[in-house]
Symmetry: D2
Subunit: 267 residues, 4 copies
């Protein structure tokens, strides 16, 4: 429960530049928390010009920041230094947890959600996992299938599309591949949750998304857009899908985000 | 905060009969809780044959029951007697609450969800509420528009369809009309949540669904399938949409629900 | 996680009669919830005359009822039928859970609280458990020591006294013995929580109190005032000690509770 | 709800040096969170040598850090830069909130707790507040009474003593004065909570404790050990009393904390 060895230190930098015409309420998720898989050593969150910000925890425990962006130029700069694992674990023998033995907090991640219509993927999922051991091996098959079947094309979708649309288009951004993986896993009773965060070595560098599957009593990471076992991740927020964890949510019309810059390095 | 006068007493009865071929895990939401709008005087929850049941609260505070339905005939019978309001309140002057003043627990109900793609309804919603006072009056316009535009046809959809599909089909069951109302409200920054429950006088009698909108510092009920102001409601569960509050969720394949019987009367 | 066999059915009845001179706010805890150890089949909660009641969950998940008791005669009558275990489990081999492996939700039950000054009992506890296997056996030694050292005298204390005072007086009511057991357990890092509820066969019949200790990954019941292994319990509320779970808490002066009647029978 | 103007920037530094003979589990509360009264711009939390740390939120929403301190020299250094108010507000006209109108989350702060035996202070409190307007003015009278009656003597108590003992001794550290203020407030139905944190200008510099009282729909700060209205505070943790929010809690015997250094400056 405690500790993340072998660990490396990652340093992230994220900057958002806005051009605001009308005072605009924003909800942001840009402050990583320490958890079982990461220890935040140092972080900063600077808004310029300075305006009052109110922080709260949402129903999933993510830290959210609420503020009213003032007219004119407005920017947010966050940094984080955290200790994280060098590798994703791949315990092929982690077994399926029967529905009636699942911890209560995992059950919400069995149900369909905005971008993961798991209620429509049962047949496909069964086909993909045919012959696999229930549990981690099923999840691994699904992850591999998504990786092989869907073309990872950064920039290919601007607004989130749902798992069903991803499956039709056969290509997508990291978020889209995660949604499809989640929908498939949930359809065979594997609790599955969406993660927004940073990945070391991502190219082109950007905020990233992947997902976790609950097997053998723990949450394991899957990322159909990266190489196998690639660790070096800092999670910013967890949710049922991208609708729960948008990095920034703007209330009111107009394009206000002018530029976003992300950087992840080792220290 | 306390008290529901003028109140009437409602007595509900709900029975589910299953025919089970393979032991099947079920999650049910059939136990109403007391809250600000209802006081549960008496209730019962009987499973036959008796099997162990485990109850927990989900992330929205709903009571959920987990059990493994045994092979053969299996039934669940619940009853409830509760004091509730005779009328839905309609405070036309309840104003819009600015995003930055919304209580944290309402914010989850501003975002799109599985069946309520509020991110796609902004233009339509603005058209519907044109000229209305921000707040209750907007919500009222939306409720009226849904009632007038979408044909309420009990039995018209077996699986939930999303707000966008409802809007295309122009007809739906109570759940569908609620989803559309919610999507429209959220698209103009009115927090809106789905309610599953009982409605006195519903015809044909069944479990029912409506929604609540947060204006003027409180949640107000809207029901596009019933007459104006019709009270006589017992809420069973709240959520972002029907995906959060299914009365019963079965894991595994096969039609197992043979019969469902609902009855609501005054006492 | 699911199921309570071998189970028996218990039926409880609790009535409180008040004589009120000035409108008095009350907070009550009289509605048992279903949980891992009990399944509530049927329950009722009647206030006479009828006044609005508002129910909420406290930080421990207990259902609390808030109301304003009106002038004159006022009564509350609750009943409950629940399936519960016939026996308390006594798994002597359930081991000590290292602090760093304890689930987060148990940690609050390691700290001192109003009536359990665990910070003052370390030396005594170590003496009592000398030679015992860490875990259940330690808890069992402490329970036995309390049973043997402190005279259980129903009616001997009207206001709660703390564990230290109980230890000095060498006698107490069920609540007092539970407080001492809890303080001793916590002082050697066994998470320990207070339970208010009903016990079948208690003599004289009354509301009862006992405690639970977390070892081997679960909460086990201990009751220094009853015979060994005596099951037949319905929990109403959990907390750190009696300060968290008073059956009724009255705001304002004056003796208003005239009579309380409790009954527990098998069905 | 959002914003803390007029705000100043405070920079804190806290270092703990341990000398450990046996691996020792620790729970710490040393990471301030952003909230309505403070915005954390930058913070760091360094353990040397590096060991895995696990962070979680307790029942009050405080961030807690769990780790196993290794043998030998071990140190923890935290820093924080936050925007906070320059002044405590003193709204003399903020009224008493009737019990039945109190938000649910305040109710836990009406009850007695480990070091605040509010059940024993009713008579004294009524005497102190005689003639005051219900609400803020009562709280202000109590704060002033504590300040005038109890000698603030840094270093006068090493282990926490309860409000009753403080009242007898007539002197205490900041924690003791806060406990007495809390006990008095709760005894007249003013919800009151303990705050551990930093105070700019405190002499001698150390971690500090004060309390907040809920009147007129908000929590207001009171600090009987500082001058009137002195702002410049960063809260680290909230609780019912010091038992809930110890800066560090060590499991197992032995003095391990060798040195603690605290510094607060403006930036």
């Amino acid at each position: 429960m405690i500790g993340i060895p072998p660990a490396i230190g990652l340093r992230t930098f994220c900057s958002l530049d806005f051009q605001i015409e009308v005072e605009t309420p924003l909800i942001l998720m840009l402050r990583p928390r320490s958890g079982e898989k990461q220890w935040v050593v140092r972080e900063s969150y600077v808004v310029t010009p300075y305006v009052g910000v109110c922080e709260y925890s949402d129903i999933f425990g993510n830290l959210c920041q609420r503020l009213i962006a003032p007219c004119g130029e407005f920017s947010i700069q966050t940094t984080c230094e955290a200790m994280v694992s060098t590798e994703i674990e791949s315990p092929l023998d982690s077994g399926f947890v029967e529905i009636h033995n699942l911890p209560e907090e995992t059950l919400a991640f069995l149900l369909p959600s905005r971008y993961c219509e798991s209620d429509r993927f049962g047949a496909l999922a069964l086909e993909i996992v045919a012959g696999a051991q229930p549990g981690y091996e099923q999840a691994e098959r699904i992850g591999r299938w998504v990786k092989n079947s869907i073309q990872y094309t950064p920039g290919s979708s601007n607004v989130p599309i749902s798992a069903a649309e991803v499956n039709t288009r056969q290509e997508g951004v990291c978020r889209d591949l995660a949604h499809l993986g989640i929908a498939l896993c949930r359809s065979i009773c594997l609790p599955s949750r969406f993660v927004a965060g940073y990945l070391y070595g991502l190219h082109p560098m950007d905020l990233h998304a992947w997902y976790e599957v609950y097997v053998g009593g723990r949450w394991y990471s899957f990322d159909p857009t990266s190489g196998p076992n690639s660790g070096g991740r800092i999670a910013i927020a967890y949710g049922r899908d991208a609708a729960d964890v948008s990095t920034f949510h703007q209330f009111g019309a107009g394009d206000i985000l002018m530029n976003m810059d992300v950087c992840v390095e080792m220290f």
